[in-house]
Symmetry: C2
Subunit: 352 residues, 2 copies
Amino acid sequence: MEKNSTYFGVKEIARRANVSIATVDRVIHNRTGVSEKTKKKINEIIKELDYQPNILASRLASKNIIILAVLIPRVSEETDFWEVPLRGIQRADAEIKQYGIQTIPYFFDLSDKDSFVTQARLILERGVHGVMLSPSFIEQARNFTEECQKLKIPYVFIDSNIPEQRSLSYIGPHLLKSGYVGAKLLTYRMKSNKKVLVVNISKEIENYNYLQIEEGFRSYFNDNQMGNEIVRIDIKETDYLSVAKHMTSVLHDHTDIEAIFVTNSRVFTVATFLKNKNKNNISLIGYDFIKENIQYLNEGIIDFLICHKPEEQAYRAVMALYQTLVMGGSVDNIQYMPIDIITKENYEFYQN
Amino acid sequence: MEKNSTYFGVKEIARRANVSIATVDRVIHNRTGVSEKTKKKINEIIKELDYQPNILASRLASKNIIILAVLIPRVSEETDFWEVPLRGIQRADAEIKQYGIQTIPYFFDLSDKDSFVTQARLILERGVHGVMLSPSFIEQARNFTEECQKLKIPYVFIDSNIPEQRSLSYIGPHLLKSGYVGAKLLTYRMKSNKKVLVVNISKEIENYNYLQIEEGFRSYFNDNQMGNEIVRIDIKETDYLSVAKHMTSVLHDHTDIEAIFVTNSRVFTVATFLKNKNKNNISLIGYDFIKENIQYLNEGIIDFLICHKPEEQAYRAVMALYQTLVMGGSVDNIQYMPIDIITKENYEFYQN
DNA sequence: ACTAATTTCGGGTACGTACCCGTAAATATA
DNA sequence: TATATTTACGGGTACGTACCCGAAATTAGT
C-alpha cells in the first residue's frame, strides 16, 4: 500500500509561502539570508501544518557527520566493569551510524586524575557535537562540562551525577535508594541483631558514589530502628592481599559480624577472602554483574548482587544525544536506572 | 567532516559489472528479469565489496509500506496488564514508522477463543508482512502460525512460547525458572517449615503459563529438600467475592499456611483478601508490575513481585520483525527476559 | 525469412531534504 | 547618477536507493 498522502514536507511549505525550498530550509535550520517577514510567514505555516521533518531524507542529504565523544574509564586489570558500558556504546553506535553519527571513545585511568583532564582537553580540541561522560573525578568533570556549556555542547552523565551542572541528562542509579535496597536485602539473610560490616574498596576515598550508597544503607537501619551496630572499613589498596589483611583484622576485632555489604563491584575480593577462610556463616552483598561476582553468586558465597544496568546506561546516554541532536526531541533530565536484585536463581537471564 | 569515502553503493556495483543500477537493484531484491550470467557477476561484486545497503536511502525510495500485525489480548476490567505491552508496541512504532512501517493492533478477548480466531483471520485476509502475538490459546495460535508459515510471514511470540512452531523468535520469560525464583523469594520470608499455598486465578484452567510456573515453584522445594507441604487451589472465577470465598475455605482447612504464591498478576485480589481479614502474618508473592499490585507492595501486603518486562517484550518483538524485514539482520530465536525481583524498596525505579 | 512473443536490460524519475552557486534587488558610496 | 557591495532568494544538484516504462535483443512459431 502507498504512503501517507497527508504528509506535508518542505515542498508544500514552500508552495504555500511562495518561496523556494532553499528558503524554507534556511528557516528550518536557523541559517541567515532570510528576511524577518518571510521567516515569520514560513514559521506560521510550519506550525499550522505541524511539520515533521523526514529524518531519513534529512540525514541522507546531509554531508555533516555528527561526532559524539564518550569519556569513560579504561578497562583495567583492577576491574573489567567498564567493558559493560562500552558494549552499550557499541550497540548504540551500530544503530545510529547509518544516520551519519560517529561515536569516539576517550578512555582515562581511574587512578589518574590527570588522564581525565588530558582526554577532556583532547575532546575540546577536536571539536564534537555531544559528549557522554562518567564524572569519576568530580572537580575535573565539573571544569570540563562548564567548558562544554560555553561551547553549547550537550553532555550526558552516566554512573553518577553532578546535579548542579546543567547536563542534558543524567542516566544512572539513585545511589541513596540503592544503598537502602542493599540494607533491606541484608535483612533477608540475617538471623539476629548482630553486627553488620560496610566495606569500601577504592583508591579514591571520598568517592561520591560510595558515600551516597553507604548513607542510604545506614538510613534503612535508622528508618527501621534496627539495633545492629554498623562497622565500616575503607580499604585503599584494591589488591587481594591488602583486602585480606584488612578483613582479617576487622573480623578479629569484631567476631560477631554476621553480614557484609560492599559498596561497589569489588565485592568479589571479599568473596574470595570469605571462601578462603571457610566463613560460610557470613552473608555477603555487593554490586555489579561482572563475571567474578557471578561466579561467587553461583557458589553461594555472594547472596545478592545489586545492578544498575551499566550497558543500558551508556546505550541510553548515546541515544539521548542522538535524540536531541538529530531528532530534535526532548530528553528527560534525570533517568534513574532500576535497582536490580540478582540472586543465584535469576542471574542467568539478567541483562546489563 | 565529510562522509566515509570508501563506501561502495549500488552505483559502484553497476559500474564494475557494466550494467545499470536498475539491474543491480533487481539482483539485490531477487526480482526476475536478470540473466544467470549477469546475476552471478553482480553477486560476486556485491560479495567482494561487502555491500551494505543504505537503509535511509532504501526506505526513502521505497513506496512499499510494511505492515506488522500485533495480536494481543484486549485490556479488560479483569486486569489492565495488557496496557503494558501495548505501550511497548507504541514505543517501537514511534521509532520505526519513519521507515515506512505500520504496526496495527488486533485485540482479542482473553475469555473468548473465538475472538482470537476471528482476529487471526482478519490478519490473514488483510495481508501483512509480519506478526507479533501472545499465544494465549495454544491450539488456535498454532493453527494461525502454521498459516503464517505457509505464507512466509515471520511471526514472534511474546509472553509464552510454542516451541515446536518455527517462530522467528520467542521473547518472554523462562517460566519454570520464574516459578523457581518465586519459591526462593518465599524462603526469605518464611520462618518455619509450615505449609505453602499456590493459587491459580484464571478462567482458563489448563493455562500453559501457570502450569510451568507452578512446576518451577515445586521443583525448587524438591531440589532443596524442603519439607513444606504445598497446597494448591485453582480459582476459575476471577472476581473478588469468588477469590475471597476460596481463600476463606482453604485457610480454614489449612490453618498453618504461612506463605502464598499467586501464579499471575491477579495477586492483588489475594492481597485485598489478606488485608480485609487482617492476616499480616502470611507472606504473599505474585506477578506483574501493575498499579493494583504496586499499591499492595507499598503497603507491605505483597512482599515481592516478579516481573518479566512485558513492555520491553512487546517492544523487542516489534523491533525483531523490523530487524528481519527491513535491516535483513538475524534475530535470536529465543530471548528470555530477566526475572526481575521487585520489593517495596526498589519498585519506584522499575521499568517494565 | 518474417512476425510475434518473451526476456533482458537501461533511462529516468521519485523519495524529501541539505546546501552550493548564481542572480536580482536593495543599499551604500563616490 | 553611476558603481560597488550586500542581502534575499531561487535553481539545481546531490545523497543512495526503488522501481516504472520503454527499447533492444533473443527466442518461438508459421
